[in-house]
């Protein structure tokens, strides 16, 4: 499976409050949440993002609240993958559980620039910056998590085990 898209680039410690502000958490509708995605850090994000686009950020992406609304909003906005130097642990878990592809890759997070055209190969973990021609190898997921990802989320995985 592959994804390709234009990059939106952010810095360290992007928290779940800026990904989806709590004032919108009176809704749990993915489509509605997506219309406010990244609103408090990047007002233009929702107007510019195209289906398949990729978010690249530095360390501790998704820190703060446990709101699953954050990865849900990102996924529903059309983002195909989030690449970061590191992820906050609840966001990491939530992304895998809801089937939002994420990759930890410090080298890619450092080198890739906003607006670059990037391709991600989820099977090999190879991230290619088509704008610069550079490629990077992401940390592989443990086998157990790969199974959850293949099942497209935790609930399907649990159902398949019964």
């Amino acid at each position: 499976m592959k994804a390709e898209g234009k990059v939106f680039k952010y810095g360290d410690n992007v928290d779940t409050d800026v990904i989806i502000p709590a004032r919108y958490l009176n809704s749990s509708d993915p489509k509605e949440l997506a219309t406010h995605c990244m609103e408090d850090i990047d007002k233009d994000f929702v107007n510019k993002v195209q289906q398949g686009d990729i978010i690249v950020a530095d360390k501790n992406f998704g820190c703060g609240s446990s709101r699953e609304h954050a990865p849900i909003a990102i996924k529903a906005a059309g983002v195909s993958c989030v690449i970061a130097e590191t992820f906050a642990r609840i966001f990491y878990r939530n992304s895998i559980n809801i089937g939002l592809p994420i990759m930890e890759c410090p080298e890619a997070a450092k080198a890739i620039k906003a607006g670059d055209d990037v391709e991600v190969d989820f099977d090999s973990g190879i991230i290619t910056d088509k704008t610069t021609g550079e490629s990077f190898k992401a940390q592989p997921f443990p086998e157990f998590m790969q199974e959850i990802i293949k099942a497209e989320g935790l609930i399907n995985y649990i159902n398949s085990k019964k």
Partner: protein, 419 residues
């Protein structure tokens, strides 16, 4: 090599003799928690399971606390969804407005969290119960759904950082100052994926409320959990609050810690986190006169009885600064009642504060104290991210109840010594 306290609890819950950092395990859960924001998402996910129902109606806690009493129609729909789910599944520990409280203050008070438990909650501050020697950690709604359905959760066994707390806390030093100091020291991702294990002779001077505050903010250092050893004070607390049996775990003497820090409690000074990260800490003596518009005293971090008593002690016989708004929120109905019986509510109201029913409201910019553009707030809550409490150009300064109360009187960020 031995195991940390956290590793021992996880090994026990997984039915294993021994676990190692990095190992993936499936652990049995003692409690699964959700609130009015995260539960509706989990309840919706529950419909996707092929097997229906919950694993144990007594081991699920549903606490509408973020936007209650319902702040608007959409919130009312969320609360209705949780209420109907609780009724349909005969959930024992569903807490309606009138008997509720902020979840992380309420559950220990109701005796639902005890040493040795493995607890997940769809709220990042679920790590609070580590104060009682439990392993508890925040998860998302899908994990909550899976936990409610199966009674199990997968974990990657964490490595740990040891914090050796020594000496008797200096005057005005509370749990909040200690944890803000630690976050300032190691950063907001300093404990990422890891346990924060607290130990040392200084712990005996910390009240249970101090310990709840410290464990509560482990997440603000990126930690998976924060945990305290069980001592006489813990046992006394449990005796008062629960009839549940519990098992006490201790770290092995030869347990491995990735890092160790010594925190000299007698040398700490009241500490404030500046916008827009909890790691931006300054001690009170190095802060210039920063004028503020609002003070919030409450939340799962600092809405307990100790916090109310400390704030009232400073506000007694004084009045908050002209133009200041000071919002006091006792974290549970029980704490609210105790504040009334001790005359603390009278002190708050006479000093010009407003007192609210329990709610998370202002902490996450929900309602009950939203900030306008350019406004500054000193808050005893846990996060000061951009836009957390309102407008993206507002600012939050995190502090202890003592500093918050002093600041409300002075009109600028102030030391309790100045009152």
């Amino acid at each position: 090599m031995g195991m940390t306290m956290t590793q021992k609890i996880l090994a026990n819950a997984a039915g294993l003799e021994k676990v190692e950092a990095g190992q993936l395990i499936m652990a049995k859960l003692n409690l699964v928690l959700g609130n009015d924001i995260t539960s509706p998402v989990a309840i919706h996910e529950m419909d996707k399971f092929t097997s229906k129902g919950v694993f144990d109606k007594d081991k699920i806690a549903l606490v509408p606390d973020h936007f209650v009493p319902n702040k608007d129609i959409k919130s009312a729909e969320h609360c209705k969804c949780v209420r109907e789910f609780a009724k349909k599944n005969d959930i024992t520990n569903y807490f309606e407005v009138g008997e509720m409280g902020i979840e992380h203050a309420l559950l220990p008070e109701r005796g639902l969290t005890v040493p040795g438990d493995v607890i997940i909650g769809a709220d990042s501050h679920t790590c609070t119960y580590g104060a009682l020697g439990a392993f508890s950690t925040g998860v998302g709604s899908t994990d909550m759904a899976a936990g409610m359905a199966t009674g199990e959760a997968w974990f990657k066994v964490p490595s740990a950082i040891k914090f050796n707390l020594t000496g008797k806390p200096a005057k005005w030093i509370s749990g909040k100052d200690i944890i803000l100091h630690i976050i300032g020291l190691i950063g907001v991702d300093g404990a990422l994926y890891r346990s924060m294990e607290f130990t040392g002779d200084g712990i005996k001077y910390l009240t249970m409320d101090d310990r709840f505050t410290i464990a509560n903010m482990a997440i603000e250092a990126g930690g998976k959990n924060g945990i305290f050893p069980v001592d006489d004070q813990t046992v006394a607390y449990l005796k008062e609050h629960t009839k549940r049996e519990y098992k006490v775990f201790e770290a092995d003497a030869d347990a491995h810690y990735d890092e160790e820090y010594t925190i000299e409690l007698d040398k700490l000074k009241p500490t404030v986190s500046f916008p827009h990260l909890p790691e931006n800490t300054h001690t009170i003596d190095e802060i210039d006169e920063i004028k503020i518009d609002q003070v919030v005293i409450g939340s799962c971090t600092n809405g307990r009885l100790d916090d109310m008593r400390i704030a009232a002690g400073i506000l007694k016989g004084k009045h908050i600064a002209k133009g200041m708004r000071c919002i006091v929120i006792p974290a549970t109905q029980q704490i609210y009642l105790q504040c009334m019986e001790e005359g603390l509510l009278k002190i708050f109201i006479e000093s010009g504060c407003v007192v609210s029913t329990p709610t998370c409201g202002p902490c996450l910019g929900g309602y009950m104290g939203i900030l306008a553009e350019g406004e500054l707030c000193v808050s005893t809550t846990n996060r000061n991210f951009v836009g957390r409490m309102g407008h993206i150009k507002s600012e939050i300064y995190l502090a202890s109840p003592a500093v918050a109360a002093a600041s409300a009187i002075k009109g600028y960020i102030a030391s309790p010594e100045a009152i």
